[in-house]
Structures are given as structure tokens and as C-alpha cells.
Amino acid sequence: MKVAVCVKQIPDPADPGALDPETRTLKRDVKLILDESDSYGVEMALQLVDAAGGGEVVLVSMAPNNERSGLSTALAMGAASATLVSDPALVGTDALTTAKILGKIISDQEPDLVIAGSESSDGYTGTVPEQIAGVLGWPSVTAAKAVAIDGSAMKVERQTDAGYDEVECSLPAVISVTAGVVEPRYPSFKGIMAAKSKPVVQMTVADLGMTAAEVGWAGSGQEVVDVTVAPVREAGEKIEDDGEAHLKIIEFLESVKAI
């Protein structure tokens, strides 16, 4: 079985970058790392391939500056190879164009299944996986928490507010997974050593048979018109306990409909 995992490489959230005042998007000239949201997809893919008794996990990523450290992490976890699209023309690419680009690589790879994160930790639109499915014309299942493959069919438990749905669909398909559904393994020493010799194929926009006009700012149907700083958290209200404080707390909880 072949599983393709979409992995986004993002600025380290522990050391977040600044917004570019002109484009109102995140500055990405720092070292990027594997988005933790995508480590769950990598882990799930490795487990599915194991359960299938063989096959491989391949990675697809689009990132600036030929960045591959996030890919190295996922390769060290056990993925077999990666395809990376990087091209100065991609600056400003919106979610739909990202999906088109990733979709092109994926269709060349001919996987049985595609796994993506439900939403990235930085861009956070939560739209790319479904758009990839749309571009490819494949079934899409979101919020997958458990997956079982049986030949060319797949059974998925889909997380919902109330519990979970059991859904079935044919393969190939695209699923998205949320954080916490599996416990991502730590890359091992030998995994890190082996990752160095695993193939990472680099592609440009031209290699994909696309033109600069179709991608980047030029190709985006979407523009960030304004950004607002999140309001700083205000100081809470202090209640001195004169023996009756619990009543005030109950009153407050009722007022916000918490109880």
C-alpha cells in the first residue's frame, strides 16, 4: 500500500516569526520545522502501511527556500521519500492553489490514500485537504480518528461533536486527521541516519507544467486585506471571600451559561 502524506513546514511556533506588513502574511525566511499537526498524519500513515503488511509512505510538501528540515523529521520517523515544490514564484500562494500544486504531485505518485492535517498550525484555513480531494476528484473524509483499509475500500471513524460517524468509501481517497488521534513516534537514531540518504525530489513551478501566472500572488483568488492583533487578555475579576463568595461564583457561572 502506498500512502501520501501532505506535510507543511512552518516557522517554529516556540519562536514565532513576524507578519510582513506589506503582504500581511507570515514571514517565512526563518528555519522551518515539521508542523506538529502533520506528525499525526505521518504516524497514521506508517501504522496503516504496517497493518497492510507492506508498502511505503511518501511525503509531499510545498515550502519556500528549498526548506527540507521538516521533511527530514518525517523521513527519520520512517517515510520512504519526499517531493518538495519550492520556487520563488510561489510567494503569496493561497490555499486553493496550494491544493492544485499538491494535487499534481499526488496524482503523479498514484497513492492508494492521501493523509493531511485537518488544519495547519500557522495558516489555519483548514481547507487544503478537501480542495486536494476536489482537484483530484477523489472522496474526502475529514476528522478521521480511526482508519481501516480492506482492499480497495476504507472504513473511517469520523470524529463529531456527539461521538463519531462510521463512514465507508472507495480508494484512492483523501482523509484529514486531527491532533491527538495517534501518538507520533520520536525519530530514532538510526532513523535520523537513514533519512540522510532517502530521496527528496525537488520541483519548480515549471516542472509541474504550470506557469508563474497561475501561482503566487498572481494566481491567488484570495487576498488578506487586513490583519488585527488579537486583543490582550483582560485582568479577571477578583472576589474577596467574605464567606459568601461561592454564591457570586455560581451567579457568574450562571450568567455565562456555564451551569
Binding site: A76, Y186, P187, S188, F189, K190, I192
Partner: protein, 384 residues
Amino acid sequence: MGNAQVSTPFFTEDHNAFRAVLRDFVQKEITPHAHEWDEAGEFPRELYKKAGALELFGDGFSAEYGGHGQRDALMRMVIMEELSRSGSGGVVAGMLSNYIGLPMVEKYGTDAIKAQVLPPCMAGEHIAALAITEPGGGSDVARLTTKAVRDGDHYVVNGSKTFITSGMRADWFTTAVRTGGDGPSGISMLVIPGDVDGLSRTKLDKMGWLASDTATLYFDDARVPVGNLLGEENAGFNYIVNNFNPERIDLATQSVTFARVCYEEALAWARERHTFGKRLADHQVIRHKLVEMDRRINACTAWLELLSWRLNQGDDPVVEISEAKVDATLTFEFCAREAAQILGGASYLRGSVVERLYREVRVQAIGGGSEEIMRDLASRQLGF
């Protein structure tokens, strides 16, 4: 660490990649539980398995038995530094008893004993320990008295070992025994299985390293197969002496990292805490304390990096490793003291990292060769 990563010529991409994994591992799996495990007097065995999965125990061990297939003193330094960033000497000591118990098995064991002991230890399913120190003394190894007498296919072991790290839980004890006459030429190394009949263990109550299960072992007619002998009979003293070098540089790296943790705790506090209308960090006395800590830590770290690099080149800098162990534990002692002063009363509260490390200074300075013994060794080697 921190800026050391970009300012040193020694660490490669491989070192940095494994460092990043270990940092993540320690932050998620150890640091948040350090206090709770101290209070419990041990950490879960499960932690060995998690560490085994990422191959934390493999430096210096053959790939066929699950090791890294290489000995890289700088990689070992990375492992020591990152584990020690947890600020829990007990967890570090317990996890790393493998690194003192197993090297002699790798070097001198028969293929059969290696195949039996190493793979489960590498995987974190079994625990190994080193048993040298006896109630009668630790520094003077040549006078140890635990006896092993040959009886057919077995050695019959009688005697006692004490202060044995991982002593309560270990599955294998690499044990120094007397098989010959008095003095260094009568000592052999035996791998004793933890479940052998005639072995009993009692846990020691300690000042620090609380999360580590340190024990006294009693051997009462314990029968150990002769195949468990490491190398030659009566040649054990030299094996022990050679095993000490890596242990000592490991202890030094741990100590200077603990010093760094103390410094970071003190710095964070000094930036937050106000007295007499300004931050602690704005009082000159406190600033100088912090610089003094940083200065000693940087010097010692640089020395240890250089020594690790020299070990990788095949050098055997015994004198400097002994000296660096003294320097590292004095640096740790100084930084634990100064951090405690800067934290004030807060450093005296159980559960504070500085409080724990303060209690762990002495064992770093005594275990694996005390400061006095290190100076003595260096002075003899220097041949004054």
C-alpha cells in the same frame, strides 16, 4: 547548548538532529514528571522502553545487538546534556545505569552473553547496572572482597555490593568479584542475572537522586554460569579502570548541564522578581553572580566538548578527564549555591528544581571517582 550549538565546530547536523529529538522527548516525557517521580522514589519502567525506541542507549554498541554501530563521544555528550536538562539527576542516573553496566559486556562478553544481555537492554526492556562499590569501600577498588569461587560450570558468589544505581530493578549486574588472591590482580567481572537464587536487595534512602532506585545487594551462594565471565579471569581490574573514563566524562557533562539548569532558573527568577524597587537582575551583586555562573559553565562546557572530540580521535586524555570531572562538579556546586541564593526562600521549597539539584551536588562529586580520587589520579599520571 543554546548558543553552543552554533558556536562550536564539533557538532554536526546528525548531532543537532538527535539533540532536537531528545529535547522534545525530555520536555514531554521527563521534565513534567520529575518532581512526582522524586516523591515516588522511582520512575516508571516504561520510560526505558520509550528511550529504547529512539535508541538512546546505543552509543558504543554494535548494530547487530541494537546499538548505534559506532562510538561517538560527542553524540554521548548530546545525550547526557539533553537528559540532564530535565533537572533530575535521579532519572538521569537510573536511565544511564545501562551506560555504565553494559560497555564491559560489549567489549569482553562472549557472543552468547552479548546476544542474551544487549538486545533487551538496548530496547529498554531490561535494565543493566554496574556493581563495584562494597560496604567496605568504593574508592579503593583493588581491595574489594565479594568472592566468586569456581564450582564446576558455575561461580558461587558470596558478599555484598552497595550504592548500586538501578539496584532494585536491574535485570543484569556487571559485578566485580574476587576470584584470585589479594590486590588488583585477583579481580574478575561477572554478569549476574537479577533473578539468580541467592541474590537479595534492599533499597537505600538518600539525600538526592530520589527517583533512582539505589540499592544494597547481598549474594548468598548465588550460582552464576561460567559463561557469564567477562574476558579473562583475574583481569577485571583493568576493565574497570578503562570503564571509568567514559563514566567520568558523562558525569562531568551531566554536572555542568545541571549547573546550566540552575543558572537558567536563577536568571528567569532574577528577571521577574523585584526587590527595593527594581528587578533582582538590576542589582549589581546579582548580575555578577549570574555572570560568574555563566563564565564557569561556558569554560567547562568548552573543555568537555574538546575532550569528547579528542576521544573520538582515539586520544585517551585520562588526566584531563579527571580534572574536568572535578571542574564540572565544582561548577555545579557553585551554581547550585548561587542559584539558591538568588531564588531566596523559593529555593528551599520541595518541588523547586534548584532545591532538587542542590541536594544532588554531592553525589556527582563523590560517585564514579570522588574529587579527591580524581585529583590523586591526575597527580600520579602527571608524575610530579
